[in-house]
């Protein structure tokens, strides 16, 4: 560990201000400007605009009614509940399976591991719509797999795997979520110093105790960080689920979509729903990162 000592020489306020401005205007900082411009135009401004508009009704009168609706109308309350449950379930499936796949992948010889991991990057490049249709062809009511199973076991057409219910939707999203988690956990597993495991065994820990007292606590912060990405992605999940079930399932993201573009058009209401969705996601992320930081510092 090398320490860098920085000596701060105090200067008069005015001179420091000039120096700060001068350093800010150095050429390389200018390269950031296009990024900041786009960030402002397409992220900050729309967010603020949406938040402000959610506080007015369609006639332009200030009101909290849109938020009161979100927490009182059964369709919205159900959407919030469904979104939280769906995002949690999909994150857990992706998180747990992805972790195990990563644990196996890092044990492979590096050539195979890199091949596998690059295969895993593939789903993330695919459009949600394409994936939805692929699953419909494979697993839809009359999809290839359902037909094969029905034929093989001589089952009536009423028996099939239902892609259009929650388990089906979670499974389709696992197609994105598992590789995502695998990629982030593979990095975590690779950073796990194998001598930690050896040190624990050397000190008398049996294999299960090594997992209980060393491996799991050391991996948990990375796992929670991976779960954050999963949860945030799943709260906003939209395209694939829309393609699969349309409006048949009640999710926050679908409610926002319907209030922003369908017959139920009500932009301020959509804004209020979006603010609530962002708040829930933000709260969950803050909770997970607080947990991860606590675990990173604290002992068992």
């Amino acid at each position: 560990m090398s320490d860098i000592t920085v000596t701060v020489v105090r200067k008069p306020m005015e001179r420091r201000g000039v120096a700060w401005l001068a350093s800010f205007l150095r050429a390389e900082v200018l390269l950031l400007l296009p990024f900041l411009f786009f960030l402002g135009l397409f992220e900050v401004y729309p967010l603020i605009n949406m938040a402000i508009r959610s506080l007015f009704d369609t006639n332009g009168t200030f009101t909290f009614q849109n938020y009161i609706n979100v927490f009182t109308k059964p369709q919205f309350r159900l959407a919030i509940r469904n979104s939280i449950l769906f995002a949690s379930a999909a994150s857990l499936v992706g998180g747990i399976v992805g972790t195990f796949v990563a644990a196996l992948a890092v044990r492979l010889p590096s050539r195979w591991r890199n091949f596998l991991l690059s295969l895993y990057a593939l789903p993330m490049t695919l459009s949600g719509l394409v994936v939805a249709f692929a699953f419909i062809v494979l697993l839809g009511r009359n999809g290839v797999l359902n037909l094969i199973v029905r034929r093989a076991f001589d089952l009536p057409p009423t028996v099939y795997f239902n892609l259009y219910d929650w388990p089906g939707i979670v499974m389709v999203y696992a197609f994105f979520q598992i590789p995502l988690m695998t990629l982030s956990m593979a990095a975590v597993f690779e950073n796990l110093d194998p001598s930690l495991i050896e040190a624990a065994r050397n000190l008398g820990a049996r294999p299960w105790q090594v997992w209980r007292y060393v491996v799991i606590p050391v991996l948990l912060p990375g796992f929670l960080a991976g779960m954050s990405i999963q949860f945030a992605g799943m709260m906003g999940a939209f395209g694939t689920v829309l393609a699969l079930v349309g409006m048949a399932k009640n999710l926050l993201s679908l409610q926002i979509y319907s209030h922003a573009s369908e017959s139920t058009y009500n932009l301020p209401q959509a804004g209020a729903l979006a603010v609530v969705l962002i708040s829930i996601t933000g709260f969950a992320l803050a909770l997970l990162s607080w947990g991860a930081r606590r675990l990173a510092r604290r002992g068992t």
């Binding site: 001598s195 930690l196 050896e198 040190a199 624990a200 050397n202 007292y213």
Partner: protein
């Protein structure tokens, strides 16, 4: 405390033979270093003793008990790793008490041992720190305390100082020796640093390419290397290839030297004459050479200032020789000067060209 016996240890990784027929006995309370370049198999020997590697052949015996089939967690052998391997999510106290926690020892005992160990490694009051709040030297002290907390029969140290600064390294080296002597614990110490091995050990095992080159006290290793590898690896050595013509007469490129050592070498054998740079003397003219000294003419090629000493790079009949003089003496010579290189017959040592493999 315990005696460690390694008998005919062989370990292969795929087709690569990491350790070949390694045999060593370590006495109770002895500190033995395994010294060699990276990849020489020294760490593999240590890992076999700790139980992290399965020997392909040979036996590991501690206090008369064969350990080959005993899992690492039941061997009661302490180990200190090069990367410290402290548990990052645990405090210093929890790290040190880990082995006692695993064995379900009561809280009072754990606290007492933590206090004892912290005072042994001079880290009193650091109980509640986390590893990331410690310096490298402090981390390695905690790692040492953790390895000693369960009172192991044997202590293994795998390059424990190689990640540290030179100054801390030297300081901690002394500490390790002091603690090892205080506890009287049988210790195996792996290092690639010959100075460290010589400074610390009761005996040094020099290894190369999976085999033992020589076992001996630091003085034996330094003064009487048995193979060219040991001569070149430990310290700096001038090696002159030649032949032993008759007892006490070594001939190099037609120049004969009187030699006292090397009785085990047969007449006519191809050998190296090994000369430490600090044993070589340099004179400006032949009348300054004491009687009985061997002499060869040479030329000063370069002078390197090394603080207390000045190292002369000399050229004689196509051969480069290094001579360490005191800085003052070295200052009397200049680059390009023609000089006489001379040495006492006792200063030279003969090393067989073909290493003896027993």
């Amino acid at each position: 405390m315990a005696r460690v016996k390694v008998e005919g240890l062989t370990k292969r990784f795929g087709r690569v033979v990491a350790v070949q027929d390694f045999t060593l006995e370590v006495e109770e309370g002895e500190l033995v270093s395994l010294l060699g370049p990276s990849g020489c198999g020294k760490t593999t020997v240590l890992r076999c003793i700790a139980g992290f590697e399965r020997p392909d052949a040979g036996r590991i015996i501690v206090d008369g008990q064969v350990l080959n089939e005993v899992p690492p967690e039941r061997r009661n052998i302490g180990m200190v790793f090069q990367t410290y391997a402290l548990f990052p999510h645990m405090t210093v106290a929890d790290n040190i008490a880990f082995s006692l926690m695993i064995r379900g020892r009561p809280r009072e005992e754990r606290e007492r041992v933590v206090k004892e160990m912290l005072s042994l490694v001079h880290l009193e009051g650091m109980e509640d720190r986390y590893p990331h709040q410690l310096s490298g030297g402090q981390r390695q002290r905690v790692a040492l305390a953790r390895a000693l907390a369960m009172r192991p029969k044997v202590l293994l140290l795998d390059e424990p100082l190689s990640a540290l600064d030179a100054k801390i390294r030297e300081e901690l080296r002394g500490e390790i020796r002091r603690i090892q002597k205080t506890l009287g614990i049988t210790t195996l110490y792996v290092t690639h640093d010959q100075e460290e091995a010589l400074a610390l050990s009761d005996r040094v095992v020099v290894m190369n390419m999976g085999r033992i080159e020589q076992v001996g006290t630091p003085a034996e290793i330094y003064n009487a290397p048995r193979t060219p590898f040991v001569a070149m690896f430990v310290g700096t050595m001038n090696l002159l290839p030649g032949r032993l013509e008759s007892d006490g007469r070594f001939v190099w490129k037609g120049v004969a030297f009187q030699i006292h050592r090397g009785a085990e070498i047969h007449r006519g054998q191809e050998v190296y004459l090994a000369l430490r740079p600090e044993r070589l003397k340099v004179a400006a003219s032949p009348d300054q050479i004491p009687p009985g000294h061997n002499r060869i003419p040479g030329r000063v090629e370069w002078i390197t200032f090394l603080g207390p000493i000045g190292r002369l790079t000399l050229r004689s009949d196509g051969e480069t020789l290094l001579a360490d003089l005191s800085s003052d003496e070295a200052a009397r010579f200049s680059v390009g000067a023609t000089v006489w290189i001379h040495f006492h017959p006792e200063s030279a040592h003969l090393v067989p060209k073909e290493p003896e493999r027993s």
